[in-house]
Each structure stands twice: as C-alpha cells, then as structure tokens.
Chain length 110, copies 2
DNA sequence: ATCGTTTATCGCCGATAGACGATGAAGACT
DNA sequence: AGTCTTCATCGTCTATCGGCGATAAACGAT
C-alpha cells in the first residue's frame, strides 16, 4: 500500500497549517475578496488584534507565498498571490483522492 | 472592510488544522485513493509510526468527519466520508476568494 | 538631525500538538 | 475460563503556536 510522497505531503501540510488559524483564514479571504493591496494598518484595523500579532500572521501567510508584499512609501502592501488561487484548491483535491490536475511548480516556496 | 464570518472562519481553520500534519495528509490521501475501508493495523503498517500515534491521528481526522469508522469483527475500519470530498475543496475556494458554491450543512460536525 | 509613522522582530507566557510506552477495553477463538 | 488480537486512552515528554508588550528598523516630513 503506497503512501503519498512524503515531501509532497509535507508541502500540503505546510499550506494547510498556514490556514489552521481562523484569523489567518479571515485575512486571506479579505485580501482575496478586496482584490487590492492592503497595508498592515488596514488589516490590523479589520481584525482587531495587536499589530505585532497581525504582523506575525502576515509573515506566516507570506512565508508560504499565499501573500506577496510590496513596499509603498512607508507602508507595506499585502496582496494575494494569484498563482495560488488555483494551486491551493487543487491541493485540497489531491488529499481527497482527486489526482493532481497537472504538475507545474509549487506556489509556495519549498 | 468586512471580514469573513468568524464562526465560518473557525470551521475552515478546524478543517485545515486537521490536515496540518503530513502524516494525516498521507493517511487521508491513502484512504481516499484505496477507496475501501482500512483497518488501523493496515494504516499503522503503511505509515510506520507507533499504533498509539496513528490512532491519535485517526481520531483527529474522524473528529472533523473526514473519516468514518465502522467496526468489523475485532477491527475498526476507517473510510473517507464522501460528503467531504467536495465540501472540503470548496472551503479552499472560499478562502481564495471564490464564493461558496452553495450553503448546505457542513460536513464536519460543529 | 530629529521627529512621527509604519512595520518587523524579540522575549515571554500559557496552551496546544505530536510522539511514545504502558495500560485498558472489547471481541474472537480455543 | 483463559488467551490472543485489535484498538483506544492515559500519562509524560518536548516542541511549536498564538497572543501580547516592548523594542528596533526603515522611511517621510519638518
């Protein structure tokens, strides 16, 4: 009985772990729905947690490349990485038995 | 700026957290691909961890209803919950900005 | 150069997760 | 009855997580 390749499983687990916190789910969904870059301050205001806490969440989401950062003057604007918009849901398909649609390179960094 | 409903975000986070471990990803993918119930002993042999550890992982996966259990003689057979096969990937769509396809009741218990 | 704004990082904490071995419970089989 | 198999649960260990305040770093503006 064959297991899914370990490193592939670890990659998926990393993606899922990035979304294992409800606040991070809300942040990602917000950025995906707004469909425009938001500053850290705007996100802090939206979620209502300490700035250091939000910054930590953003670091985690950016670490798996769900988010991209770009400086704008003094602020740092976060936006969703469009390359993940389909790649992540397809990971959900894989673990549910649907074969991976195509190989391609992974969206999050390895 | 509106956030995703908190309880909905918590539900999704719970699903993702259940798959935040590579071993659980492998277990779920194995059961989905084999498409037949497997006993704990078979799963233990496949993943190569202690039986108590695997049992713990199975409890987590069953806790969110990704897996269903059914006793068969002395063994306990685990299989994937077909009702989750589409519901979980659609959660991945939601956090990526795609609107939820339809309401329906959640697959995991609340 | 100094100030104010914005964001990241550090250190600390309580809580949770993952691993294991040992023990316990439920059945099957003589 | 006893025994063997199969699995869940308990207790313990260590490691990681999520939160916060405080501090540092980067930059624009004065």
């Amino acid at each position: 009985m064959e297991l899914l390749d370990r490193s592939e499983a670890e990659t998926y687990a990393t993606w899922f772990r990035a979304l294992s916190d409800p606040t991070r789910v809300q942040i990602l969904e917000l950025l995906a729905r707004e469909d425009r870059p938001l500053s850290v301050g705007e996100i802090v205001a939206a979620v209502g947690l300490a700035q250091s806490t939000v910054s930590q969440h953003l670091k985690i989401l950016a670490g798996v490349r769900f988010l991209l950062v770009e400086p704008d003057g003094n602020a740092r604007m976060y936006r969703v990485n469009e390359r993940c918009l389909s790649r992540f849901p397809s990971a959900a398909d894989v673990v549910m038995g649907r074969p991976a649609p195509d190989a391609g390179d992974a969206c999050p960094e390895v």
